[in-house]
Amino acid sequence: MAEPARFDFKKNIAKALKDRQLRKNLRSAMDGLRIKRQDVFDDAREFEELRRYGNAVKERALSRLPQLLEQLEQKCTQNGIQVHWAETTDEANQIVLEILQRHKATRLVKGKSMVSEEMHLNNFLARHGIEALETDLGEFIIQLDGETPSHIIVPAVHKNKDQIARTFHAKIPGAPYTEEVEDLNRIARTTLRKKFQAGQAGLSGVNFAVAETGTLCLVENEGNGRMCTTVPPVHIAVMGIEKVVEKMEQVPPLLRLLTGSATGQRITTYFNMITSPRKPGEKDGPTEVHLILLDNGRSRIYADPQLRQTLYCIRCGTCLNHCPVYTRLGGHAYGFVYPGPIGKILTPQIEGLSAAGDLAFASTLCNACEEFCPVRIPIPALIRRVRNESYAASAAGAIPGHGFRRNLMEIMAWKAWALANSHPALNRLGFKLAGRIGHLLPAIGPLKAWTQVRTRPQFALKSLHQLAREKGVPNG
């Protein structure tokens, strides 16, 4: 599904908050994910040490990002993996299409990939007559309903089993109506096995790409990722350029951080490391492996030392699970591919502030996201940065669309505030006025957003200063 024509965050929020079923589904899922995560990171000191390491590995890798990408390209090429570069999602889609057309492939089986969501690849391929089938169970469910993922890790988290039962019964030919989770899984398994067998090409994301060996690492539980990357004769992997790490030995701690934070698992069922296409003598695996490196704004984010920290993200989704806003809204309200705290900082940087800058304002700055982030991204500080840039004057910003919220009313208000606080006489006058008419603050204009849901403040008639003087406390 394409982005909504006009992203109306407020409307989306109101809609999500009114959806009782959604709130209920989210509540139980989010509570469960947080508890499981806590169980697997039960030693606070060990976890701190681990995430300090994760942060250091990402910081180091990004400080050498261009060199590591060149090394990755060189190693992959040596191993027989074909490397492609794409500046935009359009270019990346085009590369995928050309590969598929060269093989006359019309059936693509897909493992879970957020970058492919970023590319809106499925719709693009559908327009060219190619079926791109999601095979991760959660992704499969929402694809049947023509929806987008509402969570990075659990894409169908907004649905309960009754809703899924109805979808399967209506959309899968011959599927009986059942609300048993085991049976629903069996229906998906049977349906998709045929698709794996018949798939002409497979597509996956990449969780980590190792520069020193040219290895693509994939994390999963279901086995669909291995199916997509092993059964069809062609495998296409898409990855954001920030996913490269230096060394193989750095992968285990990152893997532990990822699986622990994402689903509260010590390790997933499968950790799949792919270093080359089928070699002579080998009997299976794709004969062609392609790696598409996607920029889509990342090199611009990279250029700013503070914003660069956005690129540490390993897409575990734990900031979503711990966010008081996400856990009540779910992902669809955010209107773009990446929801929750990470989406609030990443999306405005990729899409520009005028398109997505509002996202950064849906935060209480409670700091939970930073506290749980396995690679210690200072998300609240970055949210404030996005907010500041939304009001920044002229060339002060690094994010496209900076200053989009700048308006005369607020500029004047802050000028008045500065004036009142630097001139004692004005300050005194201000207090007097506040004491007399402050409680009459009207619920109109820009104040409405605040006053309509809060009790109006009662200002004291006399300031503390005045009261003290009346009691005879010496001034000074």
Binding site: V57, T135, P155, A156, R193, T213, K247, T263
Partner: protein
């Protein structure tokens, strides 16, 4: 498109990277250290928690043990490799008893010719390269003798592991075996049968990969 995009992306990155020195590399985290018994214990406990069936046996009895496990399970065919030591031992000790036990069969040709048959085989048995105690997983390096799909497509996967090859951690096996010098086409860690919790976070086993994972640990001590 390709090279222009590459050059432009790299030019931007190089320009930005050159404005600050490289951040120094961090030392590796210490590797968990268990003794032999602890490694075996930890691996068994963690993998069983992921619903893996684990049988500790020895080099003399393992085929008998496997027969006992597979007896009367209505499995028709067991895919194995006649080219491995383990495969030869299996073949030598496998009775022809199609009523009670699956018949042994082997991989034929390239996947393109074998695919349709493979998707109808009930079980496969493979060797392992080792295992990891810390997180509880077996390590596989599939090769021309034991292709990648043997441990994925058949609904039952049986893996044979030598107890001496249980490492403390993933990091340890990478370093001890110098993986970066000779990464294979595909390396795998497997911690249990395939599973999902995508529907209401309810854990269910047996999605696209095997429904069952049986690990036979050959303990010579």
């Amino acid at each position: 498109m390709g090279n222009i995009a590459r050059d432009r992306i790299l030019r931007r990155l190089h320009k930005a990277a050159s404005q600050a020195p490289d951040v120094p590399a961090t030392a590796c985290l210490p590797i968990a250290a268990y003794d032999r018994a602890q490694r075996l214990e930890r691996l068994t406990t963690l993998m069983r928690a992921m619903r893996t069936q684990i049988e500790v046996t020895n080099s003399r009895d393992w085929v008998d043990r496997l027969r006992a496990i597979l007896k009367n399970r209505n499995l028709k065919r067991l895919l194995y490799s006649p080219e491995t030591e383990m495969g030869r031992e299996l073949k030598a000790a496998w009775p022809d008893d199609p009523q009670a036990l699956p018949a042994l069969c082997s991989w034929k040709g390239q996947i393109e010719e074998f695919k349709d048959e493979l998707f109808h085989i009930d079980a496969a048995i493979t060797t392992t390269r080792g295992a990891i105690a810390e997180t509880g997983a077996i390590v596989l390096w599939p090769d021309e003798k034991e292709p990648r799909l043997m441990s994925l497509v058949p609904p039952v996967h049986i893996a044979v592991l030598e107890a001496d090859r249980i490492y403390n951690s993933f990091c340890e096996i990478i370093q001890a075996e110098k993986w970066p010098d000779h990464m294979p086409t595909n390396a795998l860690l497997i911690s249990g049968p395939s599973k999902t919790a995508d529907i209401e976070m309810t854990l269910a086993f047996g999605v696209h990969g095997p429904r069952e994972l049986i690990v036979l640990i050959i303990d010579t001590m």
